[in-house]
């Protein structure tokens, strides 16, 4: 049981340890000189930002992937704002001010999103508790006392009788 929990925790830790680079930790390498759209650093930032934002027209695609007209416009917005020297944080805030947390594929943790963030862990906790109960119950049944000498003989007699009658 304990090994099972440890394995689960390890798996969860491994999953949490390598999320994609968070765009909100701004990589403001290109702030001194205004980046041009064909600047590879700016282009990379624009793509990273576009991948973090949900297209509101086709909701399962990011702004970077979608071909909806709004996504095209918003990609243009991102590139223009990068060219104006805005930080990633400022561009994300610009989008959230207009479209709400819904545009973020990683919404912030607050009262309205608490269940979204904690829910899976709650379910995991419930599942672990249930598994623990079931396993404990099974173990209690297995831990019954060994047979006495008389019982063993009785069992052997029954088994032998069963074999003969076949």
């Amino acid at each position: 049981m304990r090994r099972f929990v440890a394995a689960l925790l390890l798996a969860a830790g491994a999953a949490a340890a390598q999320p994609p680079a968070d765009p909100r930790a701004p990589a403001e390498t290109a702030k001194a000189a205004l980046p041009t759209p064909n600047d590879p650093v700016a282009a990379k930032r624009a793509v990273a930002l576009g991948n973090e934002l949900r297209c509101l027209v086709c909701q399962n695609q990011s702004i970077e992937e979608s071909n909806a007209e709004l996504a095209v416009d918003l990609r243009r917005q991102i590139r223009e704002q990068i060219a104006q020297g805005k930080s990633d944080r400022e561009i994300i805030d610009y989008m959230v001010a207009r479209y709400g947390d819904f545009v973020l594929y990683r919404p912030p943790f607050k009262a309205t999103t608490a269940l979204l963030w904690i829910g899976p862990f709650l379910l995991l906790a419930v599942g672990l508790a249930a598994a623990r109960r079931v396993i404990a119950a099974r173990r209690a049944r297995a831990d019954e006392r060994p047979l006495t000498e008389a019982e063993r003989r009785e069992a052997e007699r029954l088994l032998a009788g069963a074999r003969e009658s076949e």
Partner: protein, 178 residues
């Protein structure tokens, strides 16, 4: 006691899930709540559709309760709600300003000539930038703006007679008293 729990716990989980899913059935994932409700309408200045030499700004409507209706001649759903807007304009309920979104002015004018023009005026947002400031992600969308220039309500999609009677009109009456 233990037997009761064995039945009660899964049943409780099932009921909880059922409540969530049932609620989910009634929600439209396309309707994303706007963060602009209760905030001042974004500032803009755009040329009017009728006369590109004339500019219109949201400030021109200060002191009035008004609707900003996002429309386009290429938008099919706009035709659905249009008779309702024409009727509202005919009854002089409140001024409606059209935000002609990413449209060709010639097409837009022809569309108004064909279906009727309920708008006090329409402004041309040709590249959709003002639309982005208003968080527009589909056409039609309608914003109800109060006397102080604050957005009080946003309707996504064509306005149905039901939405008009039950939600928008009562709010208009209330805001006009303020």
């Amino acid at each position: 006691m233990k037997r009761a729990l064995v039945f009660a716990i899964p049943l409780a989980i099932f009921l909880l899930l059922a409540v969530f899913l049932l609620r989910g059935l009634g929600l439209n994932p396309r309707e994303v709540p706007s963060p602009l409700i209760g905030k001042p309408a974004p500032a803009f200045q755009l040329a009017t559709l009728a006369d590109p030499a004339k500019a219109f700004s949201q400030k021109d409507m200060a002191g009035r309760v008004w609707l900003l209706n996002v429309w386009a001649s290429w938008c099919v759903a706009c035709r659905q709600e249009h008779p309702l807007l024409v009727e509202v304009a005919r009854k002089n309920v409140l001024p409606i300003v059209g935000l002609n979104y990413k449209d060709d002015p010639a097409d837009a004018k022809a569309w108004l000539a064909q279906f009727g023009d309920p708008y006090l005026l329409s402004v041309a947002d040709r590249d959709g930038r003002v639309g982005i400031d208003f968080g527009v992600y589909g056409v039609p969308e309608t914003f109800l703006i109060d006397k102080t220039g604050t957005i009080r309500f946003k309707h996504i999609g064509p306005i149905t007679p039901e939405a008009w009677e039950k939600k928008i009109l009562p709010l208009v009456r209330e805001l006009e008293k303020a």
